[in-house]
Structures are given as structure tokens and as C-alpha cells.
């Protein structure tokens, strides 16, 4: 089963994303900031990550940069309320595979994960 990690500082958004994704994917963990996300990626090596941007401590853009240096690099879908065009471009150039803007509808999130995972399993 494809395995995912949910990263968001808001507990309610972690729960909502879990409810959307869990029937189809195994959610290996939830992280509340970028530091936890990096630790959990190293521990569980999930196939994909949903990553919020605006978070305390290490934010999503900082975490993205660190995570993309891992081998293999994770498949990352940004899920954020801060969907300014320059941030979307910066995230995609930094290695994110998709950018979902909050508020979102469930099919948008599922489609993003499906599309990201249909490109094959983690390289390496």
C-alpha cells in the first residue's frame, strides 16, 4: 500500500487530510512543523508527503529544501493557504510536485496524490 505523511500545524487540517486519504493510502504519521516532518520522513520513508507552508519553527519551504536533499527525495504536495504565485513557483522549482491551495475540496487532494504517485514509486 502507498504510504503518506501529513504535515500541518493545525490539528484539524491533519485530521481532515487523514480522513480524505486514509481509505486509499496508509498514513504513517502526522507532523506539526518542519522539524517533525524531517524526523518522520527519515524514520518512515513515506512515498508522499502533504506539506503545509506556514508553520512554527521550521516552516514548509525550509523543510522542502532539506527534504529534497534526501536520497531518495520524497514526493511532496504543498497544501497551503498561502498560494501566492511566486510561492507556488518557488515550491515547484524547489522540487514539490503539486500545490493545493486551502480551502480545498477532497477530490483536489486525492487527484494530486494520484497524479504524483502515478509517476512511479520513489526513485532510488
Amino acid at each position: 500500500m502507498i504510504r503518506g505523511l501529513i504535515v500541518d500545524d493545525a490539528a484539524i487540517m491533519r485530521l481532515r487530510l487523514r480522513e480524505i486519504l486514509e481509505p486509499r493510502y496508509e498514513i504513517v504519521g502526522e507532523a506539526g512543523d518542519g522539524n517533525e516532518a524531517i524526523e518522520m520522513y527519515d524514520r518512515y520513508k513515506p512515498d508522499f508527503i502533504t506539506l503545509d507552508i506556514s508553520m512554527p519553527n521550521t516552516n514548509g519551504m525550509e523543510a522542502l529544501e532539506i527534504l529534497m536533499q534526501r536520497t531518495p527525495p520524497p514526493r511532496i504536495i504543498i497544501v497551503s493557504a498561502v498560494g501566492q504565485q511566486r510561492l507556488v513557483i518557488k515550491a515547484l522549482q524547489g522540487g514539490a510536485k503539486d500545490f493545493v491551495i486551502k480551502p480545498f475540496e477532497s477530490p483536489r487532494v486525492l487527484k494530486a496524490v494520484e497524479r504524483v504517485m502515478s509517476n512511479g514509486t520513489n526513485p532510488g
Binding site: A10, I12, L15, R16, P56, S80, V82, K102, P103
Partner: protein
């Protein structure tokens, strides 16, 4: 503060409440204040830097906060919702401010947001910026949302 900023936040709040909660909001009042001190007991504070800097402080009643949480998690029982209330209203504040940042970026006004901080009722001991503030009230069938916008354009 220019009136255009108030309009951006009104549009953003109306959009987020409709899309996330299926709640129709309409503008009720606009007053000027000397600081973004909230008028209702549950408050969400976000800091803003960039083209403009300052604070946006949202406030609402506890019952409206509970109803918002229920609308975001319709399958949860009432006793299960309690632990998600702060998170729910914080995220609504984050979404409204994030939506406003998208619209402002379209006008080449780039802003950055801090994560939301949520405070409730009597325990609230917060230093608010002393800054000219526009205080908006938006009304829905479920309750009222107050948005206090205390921002000024950064002088370069």
C-alpha cells in the same frame, strides 16, 4: 490604512466561509479604532510583514467557533469537537489572510504571514499594536466575525 485593504479582507472572508463552510457572510459594519483589540471572546492573531506590516485580529463568539468546528468536521460527535476548536478557528484565520495575500500579490503587494495564535476569553493577556485599525463586522446566520486590520505600508 487604505480602504482597498479592507475590501480585500472582506472578499477573502466571504470566499473562505462559502467554500470551506458553505456559510454566506455579509458585511455589517466598519468602524475605526486605535488598536486591533478584539470585541468578541475568541480571538485569532496573525502578524503580517512585507509590502504592509502589522496585525490582523479576528474575533468571534464561542458558540460560532463551535459551529465552525462542527461544519469543518461534520462526522465528529459534539464531545469530540472540543479539542479541535482552537485549531479550527486558527485555520479559518489563516485561510482568510492567505486568500488576502494571494489577491494582494496579484497587485504586486507581497506579504508574509505568521502562523495564527488563538486566545480565548478571560485568559487573554495580549499586547496589541497601537496602530490605526479598521474593524469590520461580517454577519452570517450562524454568527458574527469581527476582523480588525491594523496594517500600514512599509516605507522603503
Amino acid at each position: 490604512m487604505k480602504a482597498e485593504y479592507a475590501n480585500v479582507f472582506i472578499r477573502s472572508a466571504v470566499h473562505v466561509f462559502k467554500k470551506e463552510l458553505n456559510i454566506n457572510m455579509s458585511r455589517q459594519s466598519l468602524v475605526k479604532k486605535n488598536a486591533p483589540i478584539p470585541g468578541l471572546p475568541v480571538c485569532i492573531i496573525l502578524g503580517i510583514t512585507g509590502h504592509v506590516r502589522g496585525q490582523v485580529v479576528y474575533s468571534l463568539d464561542k458558540s460560532f467557533a463551535q459551529d465552525i468546528t462542527h461544519a469543518m468536521l461534520p462526522n465528529k460527535l459534539p464531545h469530540e469537537l472540543k479539542k479541535y476548536i482552537n485549531s479550527a478557528v486558527g485555520e479559518i484565520g489563516n485561510m482568510i489572510t492567505g486568500q488576502a495575500s494571494i489577491e494582494l500579490a496579484g497587485q504586486d503587494k507581497i506579504i508574509n504571514l505568521t502562523p495564527p495564535a488563538v486566545f480565548t476569553g478571560d485568559q487573554m493577556v495580549v499586547d496589541f499594536l497601537e496602530m490605526p485599525t479598521v474593524s469590520l463586522r461580517l454577519l452570517s446566520e450562524m454568527g458574527m466575525l469581527e476582523i480588525n486590520i491594523a496594517i500600514m505600508e512599509e516605507v522603503l
